[in-house]
Symmetry: C2
Subunit: 149 residues, 2 copies
């Protein structure tokens, strides 16, 4: 488990490309993703965590100033483990590292957008104390709405 | 409808404080919110739109580089209209201005987190082309998961 440096953007681009291909979503070419990751790491609002030699898994964290709390808000933008390396606890290890990284950088909240059928990820997040409900376990759910511009 | 300047952070802090009080969520004092808004406007990743003289309504937009598309991603972080000024189309006017602002700044997506019971806001977003479903109107929903750190 390590923080990715600028020298690893090609690996990150490849993993994120495979991620979107697996889920049938538009996937820019790995080189375009690598270029964008280079900018994000350079701007400094993004931390990428990599697991294993493949690398076998990736977590992308974005940070910004919060409106409602004194610290930063952290968004887990991506979490992906390569298919051949699943079931080994890599996702959990990435999440543990992500929570440590966020706390260490002064974030006081973390948010994640998750599709309803992605039950493996949802259970992982729930085991780690995340909730998609407002004000407690019986509260109403929170949705992500989005559109292209 | 106007873009708020640094001289209006006290008004914004007041509106956002009332927003969270109305929905029973933790509400930092208006002065603390004003201080945070001053920082956000100064950093430049945030645009605040104000409606009316009260001001009567506020929209807060956050911008950052996108991973999946060449432009910026825009989050509508807050949208609030004072209770005495509802039903007059101010929310819609704020959203129209928010979409113009986001497009003008080079955003190619906008996302919003919305609680399930907030049906007035949800209908407004849906009328404007936002969806909480993946891949079309019959697709699965997208949730926001979050936790404090």
């Amino acid at each position: 488990m390590r923080r990715a440096g600028l020298g690893e953007v090609d690996s990150i681009g490849h993993l994120l490309h495979e991620f979107n291909r697996e889920f049938g979503e538009p996937a820019p070419p790995p080189s375009a993703l690598a270029d964008r990751l280079r900018r994000l790491l350079d701007v400094g609002d993004t931390v990428v965590l990599l697991a294993g030699d493949g690398p076998d898994g990736v977590a992308v964290l974005r940070f910004r100033l919060s409106i409602w709390s004194p610290g930063l808000e952290c968004s887990l933008a991506e979490l992906y483990v390569a298919p051949r390396r699943r079931g080994l606890g890599i996702g959990r290890a990435l999440m543990d590292a992500a929570l440590r990284e966020a706390t260490g950088r002064g974030a006081d909240t973390m948010d994640i957008g998750v599709d309803e059928p992605d039950t493996v990820a949802r259970h992982l997040y729930e085991r780690l104390g995340f909730s998609n409900r407002v004000g407690g376990p019986d509260g109403p759910v929170m949705y992500v709405y989005e559109r292209e511009l």
